[in-house]
């Protein structure tokens, strides 16, 4: 059997390289929870947007600095336009950032593309590793993780509790010109069930501060656990 890395390379990374431009043109409205999280940050905070896509969250709060990263160079190039921030190409499993330094990180609609439970926990642990730890007297940095929910019976997809959680979801790239045909690309997703994201974060060494459901997604705000 092929490794999870190669599976994700074919069923996630290569697809985003192909659909980057069309995907980006459909992603412009920030989700309210993400907007709130970013707006509540202290001016001068420095943080990460892991799996930034087209970088639509980089413009929400102009008083913070964000190092954005994406696995797809084509998406990272699109995100590069959002000043004064910076974008690099990086893999969530091996982030190029120092330990315990950053004030915040967001990773929106990213961990649901990772194909095994152990790798999903490892990815969250890798984000937590970069975050400033709290102490008895000072609160630590915070992460916001957002992932697609299994429970979304009112969405156009219509999945719900009890349905398969590991699925392929088609993306139909519209024709680029009149003599071009629309093309279908399948992306791998793991749909999170209620409580699962909190469990993954706990296993990854995070302490859940807040969690909820918004627009067919589960979200969690967490901080690295510290030993008292």
């Amino acid at each position: 059997m092929e490794s999870a890395e190669i599976y994700e390379q074919r069923n996630v990374h290569e697809v985003y390289q192909q659909i980057a431009e069309h995907f980006s043109s459909t992603r412009y409205k920030p989700w309210p929870i993400v907007e709130r999280f970013l707006k509540e940050l202290q001016p001068g905070s420095v943080g990460l947007d892991v799996g930034c896509g087209n970088g639509k969250y980089l413009t929400v709060n102009k008083d913070v600095f964000i190092v954005a990263s994406d696995r797809s160079e084509n998406l990272a190039r699109i995100a590069l336009q959002h000043q004064p921030h910076s974008t690099v190409v990086a893999d969530i499993m091996d982030l190029p950032h120092r330990n315990a330094f950053f004030d915040f990180a967001i990773s929106i609609a990213v961990v649901h593309h990772i194909s095994t439970p152990a790798r999903r926990v490892q990815a969250i642990a890798e984000i937590l590793r970069t975050i400033r730890c709290g102490s008895e007297t000072e609160s630590g940095g915070k992460i916001l993780i957002y992932a697609w929910a299994l429970e979304q019976k009112n969405s156009r997809r219509g999945w719900d509790k009890g349905d398969p959680q590991d699925i392929m979801v088609p993306w139909i790239r519209k024709a680029k010109s009149t003599d071009d045909e629309p093309q279908t690309f399948n992306r791998y997703y793991h749909l999170y069930e209620e409580g699962e994201l909190e469990r993954d974060i706990d296993q990854a060494g995070g302490h859940v501060l807040e969690s909820g459901y918004e627009k067919d997604n589960w979200w969690v705000i967490a901080t690295p656990k510290f030993l008292s």
Partner: protein, 126 residues
């Protein structure tokens, strides 16, 4: 890649994260370009406490800006508009468009192309 970003990245290799010699990464064959951005003095003042000044001095030197003060401007020095403008120019407006970033611990090289650094590791280093 902006100069400020070099202050917030290190080597992707796991073992290097805890090594002091992996930070900052070292620029080689850097080609620079200036990109004009709105000057926001408040932003520079706010972000400055999060800058590792020693690392910034190393980076600035490698890119050909050897005149950075020995210690980080603080207190009244931050009321001086020219100081903030100089920092704005160095941190945000100076872009490394092409070149390599090399880890001082494991010697791995990351390539910078058209303004973007690529931190993906070859499979034998993952």
């Amino acid at each position: 890649m902006k100069v400020i970003t070099a202050n917030f990245v290190t080597c992707s290799v796991k073992e290097c994260k805890t090594s002091p010699s992996a930070f900052p990464l070292h620029f080689h064959d850097a080609e620079l370009e200036m990109q004009e951005l709105d000057f926001q003095p408040e932003f520079i003042r706010n972000v400055l406490p999060r800058i590792d000044w020693e690392a910034l001095r190393v980076t600035a030197n490698e890119l050909g800006f050897p005149s950075l003060p020995e210690s980080k401007p603080e207190g009244e020095a931050l009321d001086d508009e020219q100081t903030l403008k100089d920092l704005h120019r160095l941190l945000l407006e100076t872009q490394v468009m092409e070149g390599r970033l090399i880890c001082g611990n494991c010697s791995h090289e990351y390539v910078l192309k058209e303004g973007i650094a690529n931190f993906l590791l070859p499979s034998h280093l993952v």
